[in-house]
Amino acid sequence: MRIKPTLLVISALASALLGAASAFADEVNIYSARQEELIKPLLDKFSDQTGIKVNLITGKPDELISRLASEGRNSPADILISTDVGRLYRAKQQGVLQSIDSEKLTTAIPEQLRDPAGQWYGLTMRARPIMYIPGKVKPEELSTYADLASPKWRGRICIRSSDNIYNQSMVAGLIAHEGAAAAEQWAKGLVANFARPPRGGDRDQISAAASGVCDIAIANTYYLGGMLADDEQRSVAEKVKVFWPDQQGNGVHVNISGAGVAAYAPNKDNAVRLLEYMVTEQAQQWYAETNHEYPVVTGVQASDLLQNMGDFKADKLNLDKLGELNAEAIRVMDRAGWR
């Protein structure tokens, strides 16, 4: 019979795949939207120091939240890590996180970078400044985000699609400060100034500016940092300069990557320990630097590469607000015709 070897192969495959799971008494389970490479070394170090085994699944943040929600009280997850505040807010809204009362966390992390209810905590920070091509744009011409809607920038701005959460958060911030009507007006002006229909990611906007498609790109700092640290892309990235907008006003729009403890965390104590470990000086330094982000803990130095971009005043708005206004931001951008 032909069927027997086939069955053998199948059962061998199945057992090899299922054998992967193992039981450890002292462990902590993480659902992470931050990719493995940018977190695993730190987790390994945590395991070495504490003897707590760390299990990891990475994935897209929204899907991880859905998984948490549908697993409910059976969920093995202890910690949810997200790469932006909008998703942490969504997780909080869906009731998949719980409030944590930890003095170590509240003293280490500035108030606006953590949830007022203690459900999520910022672990690294990034800014979304204006990047311009010296020679085509004089820094004196630049001032605020609001000014980017003025007709003098017609056909000169590159920015990615409104599908992206970083743009959604940025517009949410604007709505928080100026109201939805003003934000829509602004978005319409900005869309009229696009050099091309939005496409690609943040790095694409920077290279487009560098190669002459536009004079201004809006992108997150860590993408520029990543390009500057990459031998192949450095020459492109060096063609743009960072301008910190709104320094007289509300400050530069910032976002965080952060984490929260799952509502039904089976290993809650270990989870809190891990979060507290993440805000130690040593962990902050590595965690922020490896993705070219700013540490959230005051006193921990940003990498040289970031310091070269200059100091800035960050928006003090509590980031929880960005999550709250996310849906409104999408509607505003839909109405403004921002693809």
Partner: protein
Amino acid sequence: MLPIKADIWRWSVLIPALLLAMPVLVVFGSVLSPDIEVWRHLRQTVLADYIINSLILAFGTGAGALLIGTGTAWLVSQYQFFGRRVLQWLLLLPLAMPAYIIAYTYTGMLDFAGPVQSNIREYFGWSYGDYWFPEIRSLGGAILMLSLVLYPYVYMLARSAFREQSGSMLEASRTLGFSPRQHFWKVALPLARPALLTGVALAMMEAFADYGTVQYFGIATFTTGIFRTWFGMGSQQGAAQLAALLSSFVLLLLVLEQWSRRKIRYFYQGQRQQISPLRTLAPARQLLVTSLCLLPVLLGFIVPAIQLLNWAWPNAAVLLTADFGKLVWNSFSLAALAAVLSVVLALLFGYASRLRRDPLVRLPVRLAALGYAIPGTVIAIGVMIPLAWADRNIDLLAEQWFGVRTGLLFSGTLFALLLAYSVRFLAVSLHSVEAGLERIKPSMDNAARSLGASPLQVLRRVHVPLLRGSVLTALMLVFVDVLKELPATLILRPFNFNTLAVRTYELASDERLADAALPALAIVCVSIIPVILLSRTLDASRGS
């Protein structure tokens, strides 16, 4: 009495079919409690874009795949020309190239900042705005990308269909005074229509469900809209409604496909016919035909593969760790397991709807097969919700009755993952198997039954040998599809379990295309094996 036997048969199909249809039903169920407010916003702003762009993308891709697939299949099956033997399997290779990866590579090459345009500018001393260059990241670009990797579906089916047309048919049409061109349009093409339509339907369903490419190209389609509505606006109902509307388009497409051949029954000739000899071409024409057939291989496989190699090369040493072998093994074994499962199900369903022309059996199977056109993430969530519900209730019952908590039995296990793959790719295996079944005359069933064979014996002794080619085709296709699959794998996989597609995504999502090239290349390499096997299967079933 017959009804009892019939019922056992029916239930054995109905239960797995309903299980598989569940995710799709979860999606359609959303229509019952619509999110009217979100729907109004969508209608006023972006819904028209979603519909128009998705339709253009699907029909454009279908047309592109039909053109490339039928053209090359006709040339390869009818003419003798230089390199034909190699080309006939090379033409399958683009199947191994995931759509989002080909999109990345072409963008890297043809974008304004890429090497091609930079060199043009440098050579002519031009700068931005001085010249026109086609924009790759556009709707047209997406159609081109998808056509280049999806045409093998049409090619494969068309090639078998053309080969199966007997030599006597060509002779007959010659006798009737048809030129070779007239023979193609009036005899060969109409006869191959069911096979071509099946291939086109598969390509169009893939295009409808594509997320990676359109998202990267910034095109607003149903799939990007689903994500935006669901997560961005927090309306799961609104998103599910969009998914339901998308599925209805596909349902319409499938109904049209069935309707178009309502009165025609195509059956395989019982005994092997004389296969028409290949016609040899004049040298100059041979060269033309060779380059025509080489073009899709070049554009759909060789050029992007070289670009990937180019990116992967400098970093290969850093990225090639022991971990990498594990990734390859995980991907490979998962795909193999899913392929076997999917084909077993397809055989069960195909056979059932052949034996029982019964809407109660056919409907859930049709519903489940719709999964192919629904984005992987939506399927994943559709799998997750009912499984988590079952887990929750088993856990509660076990606690109440026995004081034990069972926790998660299905969610976050390979079972959930395999279920999702089965839903997502049932259409692929089912189409293959049904196309095979359709060519077996019902009289063969009847003859076997009248000789005392049970339905199971008919399956084993008559159908399996005759179906071997279709079954192997289905196995290979699902294998390759699962290997490339990303969204469902990402969300449903167990702890500490990674695959090549997952690794590619992680790096690419961080806009590190160069680093993503190595795992991408590995996906392509692992996929080549079944693609070559597939090609040999197709050759073998030619029976020469």
